[in-house]
């Protein structure tokens, strides 16, 4: 169960979601994608994205000015 990192810092809506989707597609099922973003709108958007696509949002947290999402590729 490997972890992969995606740098979505300084990208605005909808790019963090689009980049995450692209990255998830190439990940084996069960692997985790860690997304670093600075767009505050991404917090609700990643919740909605994961609910709709069936991927598991393992963690969503704020670190200073950054938002970190851990998404398990389960869809």
């Amino acid at each position: 169960m490997a972890e992969h990192t995606l740098d979505a810092r300084n990208l605005n809506c909808p790019l963090p979601i689009l980049r995450a989707k692209k990255a998830l597609k190439d990940l084996p099922r069960g692997d985790v994608l860690v997304v670093h973003a600075t767009d505050p709108g991404a917090v609700k958007d990643f919740e909605a994205f994961c609910r709709s696509t069936g991927n598991e949002l393992v963690e969503s947290k704020t670190e200073g000015n950054e938002f970190v999402f851990r998404i398990r590729h389960t869809a």
Partner: protein, 164 residues
């Protein structure tokens, strides 16, 4: 539109061809595709402008009294009256393009490429092509030509239908 019969569907009519109005359809189309929806965009009237190979998109202050541009920590009002002066729309468009870059907002070219790559179906309105004397080769590869019936068939099978 039936590659994945269980997928939800979004259809859009895209009627506007200015820089600001280009964003909602392409943002929603790419996001919906990323969320697993099948997406169809019908480009008609000025919306067809967004399918041209070379995009040269601008905004106008005219008819848009709410427009304000952030400038040096303030907000610059763009009264309708000054929009009639030569060069004002060009200046406002340049400011908008600069802001887009600075704020990490995707360009329309980028979003359009992402939409094509995510298999968003694009339909160019044949009647508008005739009306404005546009040729197929003026448009990017990908869009198919169609009319109202093509859109209605798609829309009648879609959970979400938007007119933008």
């Amino acid at each position: 539109m039936s590659e994945r019969p269980n997928a939800k569907r979004l259809s859009m009519i895209v009627t506007k061809g200015s820089l600001d109005w280009a964003y909602p359809p392409f943002i929603l189309a790419t996001t919906a595709a990323a969320m697993g929806l099948e997406v169809s965009m019908f480009f008609t009237f000025y919306g067809l402008n967004l399918l041209k190979k070379k995009l040269d998109l601008s905004i106008t202050t005219l008819g848009n009294p709410a427009m304000e541009m952030p400038l040096m920590g303030m907000h610059l009002k763009m009264p309708n009256l000054i929009g009639m002066l030569p060069g004002v729309d060009a200046m406002a468009s340049k400011m908008m393009h600069n802001l887009i870059k600075k704020k990490g907002v995707a360009s329309i070219e980028e979003l359009r490429t992402l939409a094509v790559e995510s298999d968003v179906q694009m339909i160019a309105c044949q009647m508008t092509m005739d009306l404005f004397e546009l040729k197929r080769e003026d448009l990017i590869d990908g869009p198919v030509l169609g009319g109202a019936a093509t859109y209605i068939e798609t829309a009648s099978q879609s959970e979400i239908n938007l007119f933008i």
